[in-house]
Amino acid sequence: MTQSKDTTLTRITDLGVQFGDAPVLRNISLTLRAGEITTVVGPNGSGKSTLLRCLIGAQRPDRGEISHAPGLRIGYVPQKLHIDPTLPLTVARFLSLPSRVSAAAAREALDRAGAGDLYGRQMARLSGGQFQRVLLARALLSRPHLLILDEATQGLDQPGAAAFYQRIEQVRAELGCAVLMVSHDLHVVMAASDRVICLNGHICCEGAPEQVAQAEEYRALFGTGTQGALALYRHDHNHRHDHDHVHGPGCAHDHDHDHPHDHEAAE
């Protein structure tokens, strides 16, 4: 697969998923392009993880379709991974599942993920941060075109999470891969993103972080308190500002931007 900017890696068209009678995702249309960092934010139960599970093939959509570019390699960092203490597993062995990789390739991926010293360690004895870096290394082994992270910083403290996202940006710069992540760490994660998608069963709004932070739909979901924090954690990197801020169809929120909102006062 040849890669240049604006190469479409994955196109999601009118995706819908329901568990029993309960719709979890509806009318999701989304295009992921090479080299772009996209963040999906949304409250609990908004379908974020389900969306990612559809992308890696773990969840079959009830409607719509997902088309990947031919030969697309996806690296996946799961939300959390419990390794039973009865399973003896070194980091090196873990990286060789399900297919063997050379020691050199394993060490290179570990170095890139900032976990170079963990090669021979037992998985069950790693700290949360070390574990997360090993998971990242595993996802990088295939030199992915698209790196997918599901709440990858759960269990890390704020400096740990910030360092992890800086590492992701560095990986993106080195490998040129696109990144799609889901997170609760709104402030930190949004600062590192090219594009933010605000999800609540459907796509409420999307655009550059600043635009989304200003959007009524976003503030209705997360309150206004995030704005200041976003500015606080903002750090310099090259953003592309050519995204349009688009309202999703069927958005349940009030679209009158001049209208004062009660929920802002409640924050």
């Binding site: 773990a58 039973d84 009865t86 399973l87 003896p88 597993l89 399900p98």
Partner: protein
């Protein structure tokens, strides 16, 4: 003397065959926390024994069929959201009870129930040996063929999906292997003690191993040793063979646990 040697050798071969297949499979049972799954499947086998006798089928065939049906039923019910431990408690004991009642309906067939509950290793025939070693070879072949995929699916189902491994298929492989082991082991250790041969060697091997492969090999060795030593002791002291084998395995478990404690305090 030669006759005596002969039945002891057959018994030893049977014990080693069962141990070699049961122990590596038992590692997965331990890693995936499905100890009761093994129990339920083996308890169901007594119903298979009753059906085989009623229909004049080979014991092996009836036990395999019912164990397989049981394992599949449990897997399907647990996917529908029933709590696994409750489900297994219900199924295991119901299956055993139904089996025992079914046996009592058999007219004109005088069967020694104790032989199926606790095994009758000293009465193993050449044909039994053939069945045991064919079954064991099948299970080992199945496990080594699917080894990496099984391990990946054991770690995390989403991770497996992302790596192109179908966790449902790997679960089916384990279910099939479990039913096979139960069916071939009935004659050796009996329905009540099969789960012991699955779990105790694996648990004993855990402190001695640093990788999953070493744990499986160590478990197989420990299982075989328990089988041989148990047979020897049972012959010498005239104790029931199946339970004696399990007693030796339990003793080895105790040793390895103490050894681990010593290593931990020293290190």
């Amino acid at each position: 003397m030669s006759l005596l040697d002969d039945f002891l050798i057959r018994a030893a071969l049977a014990a080693v065959g069962v141990a070699l297949a049961a122990a590596p499979l038992g590692c997965f049972v331990v890693w995936r926390r499905m100890a009761y799954f093994g129990d339920a499947t083996s308890h169901a086998a007594i119903l298979g024994v009753a059906l085989s006798l009623a229909l004049s089928l080979p014991i092996f065939a009836g036990a395999l069929a019912v164990a397989l049906i049981m394992a599949v039923a449990i897997t399907m019910l647990s996917q529908r959201g029933h709590a696994m431990d409750t489900l297994l408690g219900v199924m295991a004991h119901s299956a055993l009870a139904v089996g025992l009642v079914a046996v009592s309906f058999l007219d004109g067939v005088r069967i020694d129930l104790m032989a199926y509950l606790f095994g009758e290793i000293l009465a193993v025939s050449r044909l039994d040996l053939l069945v045991i070693w064919t079954g064991a070879a099948l299970v080992l072949a199945l496990l080594s063929w699917r080894w990496s995929a099984l391990l990946t699916a054991t770690l995390n189902t989403d991770l497996a999906h992302a790596a192109g491994v179908n966790p449902a298929r790997e679960q089916a492989v384990l279910t099939l292997a479990l039913a096979l082991v139960v069916a071939v082991a009935i004659k050796v250790v009996g329905v009540l003690l099969i789960a012991a041969l699955l779990i105790i060697p694996a648990a004993t091997a855990r402190p001695l191993a640093t990788t999953p492969e070493r744990m499986a090999v160590a478990a197989a060795a420990i299982g075989a040793l328990s089988g041989l030593a148990g047979l020897g002791l049972s012959y010498h002291y005239d104790t029931p063979a199946g339970p004696t084998i399990v007693c030796v395995a339990a003793g080895l478990f105790l040793l390895s646990t103490l050894l681990r404690g010593r290593l931990m305090t020293r290190g």
